[in-house]
Amino acid sequence: MRGLFLSDLGQNAAAALVLRPLAEAAMSAPEKSFVMETANSPNHSPLNFAGSPINKTLSAEEKLETFRQMVRIRRFEQAALKNYQKDGTMGGFLHLYIGQESVAVGAASLMGDHDHMITAYRCHAHALAVGMNMNECMAELYGKATGCSKGKGGSMHFFAPDKNFWGGHGIVAGQTPLGLGLGYGLKYRGLEGCALCFLGDGAINQGAFHESLNIAALFGIPVVYVIENNGYSMGTSQKRSSAYKDCLAQRSEAYDMDWDVVNGEDFYEVRAKTHIAMERARKEHKPTILEVMTYRYYGHSVADANHKKYRSPEEIADYKKNHDPINLWRSKLIEEGVLTEESSKTIDTEAKLEATASTKFAEESPAPTIEDITNDVYWETDNNTEASQIGRHFFND
């Protein structure tokens, strides 16, 4: 099935062409006619989503900015990997997103003031995409007090509520009810916005996700669940972890909910389809499941020594060579005359320098202290409120 995907967008994407009535029905009129046209194009050749209204509105500078973000994310993670392997100072897990950059950046590029994002442990890209800076992110990996979570969260737990980013969560699918809650909060407050909640292809089999889907559909919650389908949950292929008919997103039909399948290597498609789902959430208070076909080049985490066993080296090489979202986006932008080989190099060099600088920042930052351990547990004690003075809150002998 993954093989198919390589050659012709695969079974899931093909299914999307055939089985998209709900998504279409919910589209605004111009979007709809756009997709209808392309969906009818002969022999399922890759669709051209550049003409989608939401992509047409992109200025050259905005396009460059998304490219820059993707490059920055990749360079940040490559630096993180190097740092991780350099010595033992970085601890815990390191789940790299390399290969999937178009997904987080595409979605983040659509976020307005009242749109919120939440994801799982593979969260560096989402963090940078919403505007967190490399310094605070790298320092967090180093467990430093200057990290975005003061060294308390680590790689899996980046947060930036001021940028509408709510983590970074380690328990598989544990974030899915939280994402629902973000949407609930928006609707409760009467704000026109939506929650973008990311999860993996393996995460869909957790009970909390299904409970969330039912409530989302029943209550009409403005949430978009984005399954980043990279084909594997750790060493387990999609086929070995999930029962499904045509694709994973289709599980939404059980709840009479809209869905779509997205070719993640096409930045325009990610934006076009995510935008439709976000609008459906914002304007109609209707949830959607999007399944974005993507791929991670590295193992599940840096500790995953097996990742060339459960996937063939050819498969990985083919993705890198023919389906890399950054390469494809670069080609497209060069083709469009928005980017040149040279400016592309500059962006890349800047990103590398920024990553190097963030490493230096992280290395030179102070570590948290033992006293810090018991801060950030309770709002009340952190703020030394009257309430916090009453009774014992901590029980260290």
């Binding site: 919120h116 939440i118 990290g147 975005c148 979570s149 003061k150 060294g151 308390k152 969260g153 737990h157 947060f159 930036a160 509520p161 709510w166 983590g167 970074g168 969560h169 328990i171 544990g174 899915t176 009810p177 939280l178 994402g179 629902l180 809650g181 973000l182 949407g183 609930y184 909060g185 928006l186 409760y188 407050r189 929650a195 009970g207 909390a208 409970e211 969330s212 039912n214 409530i215 029943l218 018991t374 801060n375 950030d376 547990v377 309770y378 709002w379 009340e380 952190d382 703020n383 309430a387 009453i390 009774g391 014992r392 809150h393 901590f394 029980f395 002998d397």
Partner: protein, 327 residues
């Protein structure tokens, strides 16, 4: 003062807080149209409508997680578990997302939720429906837990819990809902009881009976028997709040009486009483004339049989017997 039922005291707390803060929203299974399985939310849906009082599907992980997510945006969900026993299907949301998000974000996120519902045995509903998880949740730093024994405490602590900016888990009790007690009139002003403050429900000098929730009533019964039949003057310390915990009140009482019997509806292994015993032996070591003793639920899953369940739980008879071993 007015006498009202424990359930109505809670109801009044919700009503007042719904009026005070438009971000307060009640949710749970059957809390709205059905008025609550135990009628604790009676009339509130009628009065406040669909937005503020919300019926949820039977999806505890889903709706509790939803409440946590919404609370991060400033909503203040007050969520009912029809029984606290159903925590087991939402445990991840309760102990990870509620308790740890603040910490893992380095303090950037607040989770001002209240989880509430009854947590008690004594109604013959069997092992799966009779859990008393006060200690289980108080064990997780980041959470607060309280367990009111009287209508006044129920109202005052519920209002405090709703205003607290951290997750507070309020353990009510189906056997107390119908109990009446004095509760200040709302006309006399906002009535709040802080978390972390114990209450001496009976003064005494010979032995400290330390408990919380319905066990307080068992202690008071036992104290009467001890006084009338054994000439023992027991002090009854109501912890009210398990975390934060009024350690000072505990230690002060034990230093006065030199003897303590802990009464705790938890199971004995690692129950709240184990924590209190540990603190007493540490902080009042030189004042103890006898080991700290405990009266817990007999160590087995909750038995259904109405003929036996009363004896599995702490009761006056078992408390008196335990006091006599050290008096």
């Amino acid at each position: 003062m007015r006498e009202i039922e424990y359930r109505d005291a809670l109801n009044e707390a919700f009503d007042e807080e719904l009026a005070r803060d438009e971000n307060v929203v009640l949710m749970g299974e059957e809390v709205a149209q059905y008025n609550g399985a135990y009628k604790v939310t009676r009339g509130l849906w009628d009065k406040w409508g669909d937005k503020r009082v919300v019926d949820t599907p039977i999806s505890e992980a889903g709706f509790i997680g939803m409440g946590i997510g919404a609370s991060m945006l400033g909503i203040r969900p007050v969520m009912e578990l029809m029984f606290w026993s159903f925590h087991s299907v939402a445990f991840d949301q309760l102990v990870n997302n509620a308790a740890c998000c603040r910490y893992m974000s380095g303090g950037l996120i607040n989770v001002p939720i209240v989880m509430r519902g009854p947590a008690n045995g004594g109604t013959n509903v069997g092992a799966t429906h009779s859990h008393t998880p006060e200690g289980l949740f108080a064990a997780f730093p980041g959470l607060k837990v309280c367990s009111p024994a009287t209508p006044a405490d129920a109202k005052g602590m519920m209002k405090t819990a709703i205003r607290d900016n951290d997750p507070v888990y309020v353990m009510e009790n189906t056997t107390l809902y119908g109990n009446k007690g004095d509760v200040p009139d709302p006309a006399d002003g906002d009535f709040l009881i802080p978390l972390g403050k114990a209450d001496i429900k009976r003064e005494g000098s010979d032995v400290s009976l330390i408990a919380h929730g319905a066990s307080i009533l068992r202690c008071l019964e036992a104290a009467e028997i001890l006084a009338s039949e054994h000439n023992i003057d027991a002090e009854v310390v109501d912890l009210r709040s398990i975390r934060p915990l009024d350690q000072d009140a505990i230690i002060k009482s034990v230093k006065k009486t030199n003897r303590a019997v802990l009464v705790d509806e938890s199971k004995p292994f690692c129950g709240v009483s184990a924590q209190i015993a540990t603190l007493i032996q540490e902080y009042a070591f030189d004042y103890l004339d006898a080991p700290v003793k405990r009266v817990c639920t007999i160590d087995a899953p909750a038995i259904y049989s109405p003929h036996v369940e009363p004896d599995q739980l702490p009761n006056a008879k078992r408390i008196v017997a335990q006091v006599l071993t050290i008096a």
